[in-house]
Symmetry: C2
Subunit: 331 residues, 2 copies
């Protein structure tokens, strides 16, 4: 028997448990070239809310009465594909099923010796990959440079900051509570923190925390904080546009000061980034991140919920702020 979780309704507003359907199916069998996977750890993430809507975006919407999906770490329990052996662990975009067959396409093997399996959904998963690959491709961090990060206590931001420290940068984080600032400094090793909720003049606060100016700004939020960062940007500065959460709930595109004057005058680069475009780099990136994790050079926060059937509830709990760091379900 096989437990499966499907999308029952497209939620209006905050999703409810009734938006999901729990069904049982026969356990599938792999054909030649296929593998049978057993889900071990399931990632639940805010971006899945977007896929529950029926709108065009950078990733297809979920279909009604079809299984939900997210990034999952699974064990190969039967293999008819020469690239995989029984007992291998893999990571990839998979369905919310206890058991499923796969051709193996799009899956990366993961090593349970190198890191706990749940880490492959967080610091070794899409959030860690986002941080690592975007910095490698765009930031060109140099020792002694200043790296400014918004959303700095989050799963992406905290990894960005830690990589900045490995690269020898002065790292400054922006977050929304003093508790988050303490986490950034004490656990993740940031040099300075700015609480944007208690700061009137972000341009001045950034100038104070970044006395040599900003070489790289890692932007998870957009809006006024981006403006303040650009007011402090150095010649040849780089901005990684990883997110613009301050804009996502706006019905019309908000207005703000034009940036093109600064871009020309300071020869600044701004580059939008989506990790899904870089799947071919995942393997090498995971290796590097796993090594740093083993060496204790990077760390992360996670909340683990037990039980496959609790996956929808764990997803709902994210929006209630019940997680600390990355939310993961142990199947």
């Amino acid at each position: 028997m096989n437990n499966v979780i499907k999308l029952a309704n497209r939620p209006a507003g905050e999703p409810q448990l009734s938006d999901f359907e729990f069904v049982t199916e026969d356990k599938p069998s792999p054909n030649d070239g296929e593998i049978l996977l057993e889900s071990k750890y399931i990632s639940v993430d805010p971006y899945l809310r977007g896929r529950m809507r029926d709108v065009e975006s950078y990733i297809d919407p979920f279909q009604l009465n079809e299984p939900m999906e997210s990034t999952i770490v699974a064990e190969v329990v039967e293999s008819k594909n020469s690239n995989f052996e029984k007992g291998d662990f893999v990571f990839g975009m998979l369905k919310w099923k206890e058991f499923q067959v796969s051709s193996g396409t799009g899956l990366n093997k993961v090593d349970p010796e190198k890191a706990p399996l749940s880490a492959y959904l967080g610091i070794l998963g899409l959030t860690g990959l986002t941080a690592y690959i975007s910095l490698e491709k765009i930031a060109d961090l140099k020792e002694g440079e200043t790296l400014l990060v918004s959303g700095a206590s989050g799963a992406v931001g905290s990894t960005v900051g830690q990589i900045g420290k490995i690269r020898g940068c002065h790292v400054v984080g922006i977050a929304g509570s003093d508790e988050k600032l303490a986490l950034m400094k004490d656990k993740f090793g940031f040099d300075e923190g700015i609480n944007y909720k208690t700061t009137d003049d972000m341009t001045k606060a950034i100038a104070k925390a970044c006395p040599n100016g900003v070489n790289v700004y890692y932007d998870n939020v957009g809006g006024d904080i981006l403006d303040a960062a650009l007011n402090n940007v150095n010649k040849n500065g780089r901005v990684i546009n990883c997110g613009a959460i301050s804009l996502y709930n706006e019905k019309e595109v908000p207005q703000g000061p034009r940036h093109e004057g600064i871009l020309v005058k300071k020869t600044v680069l701004m580059q939008g980034f989506l990790v899904r475009d870089h799947a071919k780099d995942f393997g090498n990136a995971i290796q590097q991140l796993a090594q740093w994790l083993q060496e204790g050079k990077i760390t992360h926060e996670e909340t683990i919920v037990e039980g496959f059937k609790n996956t929808p509830q764990a997803f709902l709990d994210i929006f209630k702020g019940k997680n600390k760091g990355k939310m993961v379900v142990k199947a």
Copy 2:
């Protein structure tokens, strides 16, 4: 005897002839390691107006009672530097003097066989270099892509468009008169032109002229036209921020729609560019541009004024629109 032109006053508003001082000096003699140069062609450009102000910018302001300077093509008339021979022609940032000595630093030799000497101030000078180097470094133009250019009939824009055609792109130019559109299409080979002064909805006009979307937008203007270009940008689009003339006369930074949402969603790159940062690439770039010029693959417009002493007047005439294409003085 040696004629020299100095800055006499910092102009308020449009510069006047009285802002310049004409003086005579003894003809200088080169020391060991130096060369004596005779100015042959002098470039006059709108950006020199900025250097007449005493404000910090990407290039130092002119000093009062010191010679003006701009890019000049000069002949080596005496050499005590083993890197140069009498009869060589060089190009570089030089003073408004009929004769001057130089260590040779920052000068590039130019070949009068390959192109008329005046061309080294236009299509083979900073404007051509701007177009070529920025496209090579940033645009990554691919055959069949769409290149949109603003300020398209100008010295930079017209070269950008012609290089786009050499690279096999669909090239669309934006300019401010039907006469300029005709020049773009007939002389410079653009595929389509948009007159922004007679177009109500630039987003729609660009969509019509760029049916496959915009892969690369070469921005000389900023402002509303940048917004309209971004409304049509494709996934992985590139924007070269070469100028933002629509902002230069504003006292405060104007507001506009925020771009960071599009940057993330379409993974767009925006990159500010100043040609002065790329002096080490000038030699190779001039060679390529000179070859295209010889082969008839690119062309340009220029207005040549005779007489060294007419350099200030030629500069003033730019602001009255008396030039067609690049304005150059033949000394």
